[in-house]
Amino acid sequence: MVPPVVGAPARVPLDRIPMPPYVIVLLAVTLLCFVAGLAKIPGSMSSAIRFEHGSKNLAKGDVNGVDDMEAVFTKLDDPSVDIKLRMAEAYVTAHRPQQAAKIINKMSGEKLDKDEMARAKAVAEAVGVVTD
């Protein structure tokens, strides 16, 4: 049996309920954001996955993992303290003290919380950088 068409006799055509201009603008902006999101997803996803993949490999003892982390890190413009510290710690683990020292030196003057300070000091002690 063919189901009855719901409300067919009294159907109001869509153009009888026009959208206010502000709704059209907002939905257009949302659509643009959706397209921008779709376009940006592959880049941001692959860099985040590469960084974490490198970090996990490093934790498993594969020192080449630091290369994946480095490839992402060098493209970041002034990343967060946590990311800088993770990169520095990765360099220490991968026996590249000079690169770790470079990051710690660049961090001078940045405000760190207690935990971050402890991590920075641990890296500094491992690579022989004098910190304050």
């Binding site: 719901v6 009294a10 109001v12 902006v29 941001s44 996955i49 590469r50 960084f51």
Partner: protein, 178 residues
């Protein structure tokens, strides 16, 4: 923290508009006649909805159920896609640009308004009263969930959901995929 509801509605107005648009979209897709749509209205009064869609009651109640919960799917999907690429540079790497912050605002606003309202719950309850048993078995738990979520709104459940979809989901996906 007690922030007046009208202020939250005002700040997250894109989510309200997308929520009502999703109701209207599902109504059109399911062949339900729409009588009136208010995409957004600002009111200081209590109990005044920020938006609403008035549509016919379908002789097939499952259509009403779907029209009622449509925004949950549309808002969640849009929030996830818009917010994902902005959440990674912002929360993972700490390198957001202005576009990322704008995308985050839009995405969290949309995600916050994913849950159906008590008005939607009332509409679903009304239409499943005379529905077949299977529709009731699906519909009443949904109505119950909507009421639980409504109580949860006092504890910022809608905001937590929006933030969770936008901020936590990307990190979870990256953690699993890496």
């Amino acid at each position: 923290m007690l922030i007046p509801g009208f202020l939250i509605t005002l700040v997250t107005f894109p989510g309200v508009i997308v929520h009502e648009f999703a109701h209207a979209l599902f109504c059109r897709m399911l062949g339900l006649n729409i009588y009136e749509v208010k995409y957004f209205q600002f009111s200081l009064g209590r109990g005044v909805p920020a938006g609403y869609v008035v549509h016919e009651i379908s002789p097939e109640p499952w259509r009403d159920v779907m029209a009622g919960i449509g925004p949950f799917f549309v808002n969640t999907f849009l929030a996830a896609v818009i917010g994902f690429p902005a959440a990674i540079p912002t929360f993972k790497f700490g390198t957001p640009d202005l576009l990322d912050l704008f995308l985050l605002w839009i995405a969290i606003s949309i995600g916050m308004h994913a849950f159906p309202s008590t008005g939607d719950a009332a509409s679903i309850s009304q239409s499943i009263k005379t529905a077949p048993l299977w529709t009731k078995l699906v519909g009443y738990p949904i109505v119950g969930l909507i009421w639980i979520v409504t109580i949860g709104r006092f504890f910022w459940l809608d905001a937590l959901y929006g933030i969770g979809v936008v901020c936590l989901l990307p990190n979870l996906i990256v953690w699993i995929a890496s």
